[in-house]
Subunit: 135 residues, 2 copies
């Protein structure tokens, strides 16, 4: 548990949440500022700040828990799909520095727009590939 | 391998890609329609359609591979953060029905906007929680 971490306090029961599921490793609760109905957060009970620190011992149950929560949420709100999203760092929209996954139910008519794509040539893409491979 | 799956064909080497990493279970290549520089896809070599079908045997190496790719990409493009995103179903923006994770580098000045949040009362949130818990 990290001092001054709101998610650690929620996990410890010191701050209330709208819990919808948990197991030994993860807690799932509704986001109080939802993007769509049923928007939930999947939070590891152990504190670590972001995806880069996601510890190996949690890997095994991660997707199984996401699947279990998605099934319940999507079924209840009658969604047509869902996004799983992890924001890593402030520039990526991370606000709470206790790693978490957004589970956002999606609806055919929700009008949420994907981010725009950039124009890039195959040559530029190849140059970037080379730089990454050499890094 | 699934017939008529573009990602299976890329994995088999029948269609080229800008590969930047791979291991026994996953392949990572640059998105040809990037949202930001370094936008990459992390694709399991085994075909399954979406997050709901993510098989247990792949869990163990998933985050380790994402971390490895994120480190290389973020370092090369000098990003300030990154998003990991999985779109499940057409309503969520999934276009290729071979599960994949978007790794999107983020920059302090990239001006990509988060989706808007809805207003919801704590009472409404509590009612939704009850419905999910009873489902």
């Amino acid at each position: 548990m990290a001092d001054d971490c709101i998610f650690c306090k929620i996990i410890a029961g010191d701050i209330p949440c709208n819990k919808i599921g948990e197991n030994d490793d993860f807690l799932c609760f509704l986001d109080i500022k939802p993007i769509t109905d049923g928007h939930a957060l999947i939070v590891p009970k152990k504190h670590f700040k972001d995806v880069m620190e996601f510890p190996k011992e949690l890997d095994e149950g991660y997707f199984a828990f996401c699947q279990e929560m998605a099934k319940k949420i999507v079924g209840t709100v009658k969604a047509d799909g869902f996004n799983l999203g992890m924001n890593n760092g402030r520039a990526a929209g991370q606000i709470i520095f206790h790693q978490h996954t957004h589970l956002i139910p999606r609806f055919d008519d929700d009008k949420l727009e994907s981010w725009p794509h950039k124009e890039i040539t195959l040559e530029e893409l190849g140059e970037l590939q080379e730089r990454i491979l050499k890094s």
